[in-house]
């Protein structure tokens, strides 16, 4: 069953079948733990057949039933709770029959936490408010276990992107998880959490790793740059991932974009970075200091407080005013 497909309307049902590789009955239960007193941000628990995940969360993408050369244990070390497969790709190779024979994708790839398979594709790209509203009403009437806000990652302008998300989260039922597809930049994640989105996925952290980029709190650094040749610090002194615990920027500089292992090391760090960012978001919501978190995060990310207008507007819409 094709689920979580992004549609022109920007919203579609996240069918239960999508959440595990084989299940057909409602496979998830959802419970809100705490809500931000100002914005729409919330933390919640989502119980899936293999694992209970804490939201908001980011899901790394492993299209082909593997995560960029990392062993399942390394993906766990990076604190990933769930990874994404692609129903279409895996249905073609290795195929549904083989996956059934072997006892499912979990067993095939030796991943014992949650897996979400989506179908990908279906991007028509449009942001028509009327259609979106009709679609929203229909979907809500269907009482799906969760909702995917899709069709938004095709590079549309940010000042059209955030109002769409804002509108969707206003109308979608509160007691169901909301999933914003293809969102992976740190700033977008923080803004979408403020708008009340619970789940995200994106190839960005692993793709950017391939080009030698490592994620840090004020964006990313490209380890190819000569500045790092004799920089014997880890990528991020605050990071406790295996890469930062063992390798220096200088060492990575000698191998990025040349050796595949550099890609593994940076993927590991970048996934860990996303996971830590989401954990910090969750903790700040639980302790009701999410607004402070957002203000500090943006002030660190944008030096000289040169915030883009869409970030200012989106956050203002949920009562968060950035520091000047």
């Amino acid at each position: 069953m094709a689920a979580a497909a992004s549609t022109i309307s920007g919203t579609s049902a996240m069918a239960s079948a999508a959440v595990s590789s084989s299940s057909s009955s409602p496979a998830l239960s959802f419970r809100i733990l705490s809500e931000c007193s100002k914005s729409k941000a919330r933390t919640s628990l989502m119980k899936l057949p293999h694992y209970t995940v804490e939201l908001p969360m980011f899901m790394p993408v492993g299209t082909q039933g593997t995560m960029k050369g990392l062993l399942p244990g390394q993906v766990k070390d990076a604190k990933a709770q769930i990874i994404l497969g692609n129903t279409y790709h895996l249905g073609t190779r290795p195929g549904k029959d083989l996956l059934n024979d072997i006892g499912g994708l979990h067993k095939f790839m030796q991943w014992d936490r949650a897996l979400l398979t989506d179908s990908g594709g279906f991007q028509m790209g449009g942001l028509f408010p009327d259609l979106r509203k009709i679609s929203l009403e229909q979907l809500i009437a269907r009482d799906a276990p969760g909702y995917a806000i899709g069709g938004l990652s095709g590079g549309e302008e940010k000042d059209k992107f955030w109002p769409t998300v804002h509108l969707c989260t206003d109308h979608l039922p509160k007691n169901k998880p909301r999933y914003c597809m293809g969102v992976g930049f740190a700033v977008d994640l923080v803004v979408c959490c403020a708008l009340g989105v619970d789940m995200f996925d994106c190839v960005f952290p692993t793709r950017t790793a391939r080009f030698g980029c490592a994620l840090i709190d004020n964006g990313q650094i490209n380890l190819k740059a000569r500045d790092f040749a004799t920089d014997f610090r880890p990528i991020d002194e605050k990071c406790d991932c295996e890469t930062c615990k063992n390798y220096t920027r200088a060492y990575l500089h000698t191998i990025v974009t040349k050796e595949t292992v550099a890609c593994h090391l940076l993927s590991m760090h970048n996934i860990a970075y996303q996971m830590r960012l989401m954990k910090n978001i969750r903790e700040s919501i639980k302790e009701d200091r999410f607004v402070d978190f957002v203000q500090d995060f943006m002030a660190c990310y944008y030096k000289d407080q040169s915030y883009p207008q869409w970030v200012i507007d989106a956050l203002a819409a949920v009562n968060i005013i950035l520091k000047k």
Partner: protein
């Protein structure tokens, strides 16, 4: 470096197993290592391992014809670098190895002319003297060269044995000049090597280890071991991994065969009818290096992701391109050997068994042939990671067996075990 992160390496070998680091890969990073000051092992997150520095990477073809009076050519991502003796010693010093190979002009193989061989020996002798004069840190491994000429090899080794240098700084001998590295080494069969190895090794003193880097196939490894070579690297399992193969040749001799083991044994891919293979459950511990017997030197193979062409003369570029062809498309060639199965082969598509029945490696304990085939098929990065874990594990098992066979005087049995499986798979 190579295909692994350090913690993956440690799923296969011990945390102090020797690793081999080719100087070639650090020749452009001398300044970095100088300011780092803690040596190449620490720099590469391999602290705790002992380190052997060789001049060239045995898993990559070294382009031929670039050594001259100014030095030995090393190939880096930026192209060719001519490394003089001073530069080499500076590099070795910053790398801080436990032992290193003397700089050498081992640019000879079976096709080398007499003139090239005599140049190679003359240059290598000069380098060796200079290495010893420069001596500061680690123990040097003297190069044993002489191309494919028995006379030259024997003369060379005799001359080394007669030298009256301070032997306390000599760590052993490196058997070089039989190949110019990379995949072609695999084709050197034991018969053709026999006399050459003998000529090089026999005159050498027995109390120092001998090292032979290269992508030797298992039967040639046995031949080298039989003649007294002590140290090898992991270039061959890397080669097999690059073409998405999994080593399956039988490498264990039985000690005492029980009924239970017999039935397990029946599942083995290459079963030798005469000798009976069995699992040695007691001997699965990795890397129990015994200085008296065989040591395993873990090579850190390099996988090129993007190609940097040498930025020198036109002619050089042409030649390098030609040589690079021999390095690059190991995968495309779809080459295989009688020692392995090919995981790109469609026959694996629904195989739910491990790469090798009874294998105790991480890959075999966790994944099916179908999964590894799937990964290889869609070109996922995890395919070489899992295959290298299996292949290196198998390779280490092979060396455990060699050590055991030497102790129990059964090297001949091990050889015929492997030979008959090679024959079987050639027939199939």
């Amino acid at each position: 470096m190579g295909v692994w992160v350090w913690d993956v390496l440690h799923l296969v070998v011990g945390k102090d197993s020797p690793v081999c680091v080719p100087a070639q890969h650090f020749s452009e990073h001398v300044k970095v290592l100088q300011s780092y000051r803690r040596g190449v092992a620490h720099f590469s997150a391999l602290q705790g391992h002992c380190v052997c520095v060789t001049a060239q990477d045995s898993s990559k073809v070294t382009p031929s014809g670039y050594n001259d009076k100014s030095g030995v050519s090393m190939w880096t991502y930026r192209g060719r670098q001519s490394v003089s003796i001073d530069k080499y010693m500076e590099l070795v010093e910053t790398m801080q190895p436990d032992w290193y190979e003397a700089l050498n002009d081992a640019d000879t193989d079976s096709a080398s002319s007499k003139k090239r061989v005599s140049k190679s020996t003359a240059m290598s002798m000069a380098y060796l003297k200079q290495c010893i004069d420069h001596h500061k840190v680690a123990k040097v491994m003297r190069a044993a060269v002489g191309g494919h000429s028995e006379g030259d090899r024997s003369r060379w080794s005799k001359s080394l044995a007669e030298k009256l240098e301070d032997t306390s700084i000599i760590s052993g001998y490196a058997l070089l000049g039989l190949h110019t590295n990379g995949p072609p080494t695999e084709k050197l069969e034991p018969e053709s090597m026999h006399n050459l190895i003998k000529a090089s090794i026999d005159p050498l003193p027995a109390d120092l280890p001998r090292q032979a880097a290269g992508m030797w196939n298992p039967l040639t490894v046995l031949k080298l071991a039989e003649h007294g070579v002590d140290i090898f690297d992991s270039a061959f399992p890397f080669l097999v991994t690059e073409r998405r193969g999994a080593l399956t040749f039988p490498c264990r001799l039985n000690k005492t065969l029980t009924d239970g083991e017999c039935s397990k044994n029946d599942k083995l891919e290459h079963r030798n009818k005469r000798l009976k293979v069995c699992e040695d459950n007691s001997g699965t511990k990795m890397c129990e290096d015994n200085p008296d017997t065989k040591m395993m030197c873990e090579e850190k193979p390099k996988t090129k992701m993007c190609e940097d062409k040498p930025k020198t003369k036109m002619e050089e570029e042409e030649n390098a391109k030609k040589e690079d062809k021999e390095n690059q498309p190991i995968r495309e060639k779809e080459a295989t050997s009688p020692y392995e199965i090919n995981l790109k082969d469609k026959s694996n598509v629904s195989q739910l068994e491990p790469l090798l029945a009874g294998c105790e490696c991480y890959t075999c304990k966790n994944f099916t042939r179908a999964y590894v085939h799937h990964l290889a098929n869609v070109n996922e990065l995890l395919a070489p990671v899992l295959l290298m874990m299996h292949n290196l594990h198998h390779w280490m098992d092979f060396f455990t067996s060699i050590r055991e066979a030497i102790k129990t005087d059964r090297l001949e049995d091990l050889r015929s075990l492997i030979e008959s499986s090679v024959l079987e798979s050639k027939e199939a």
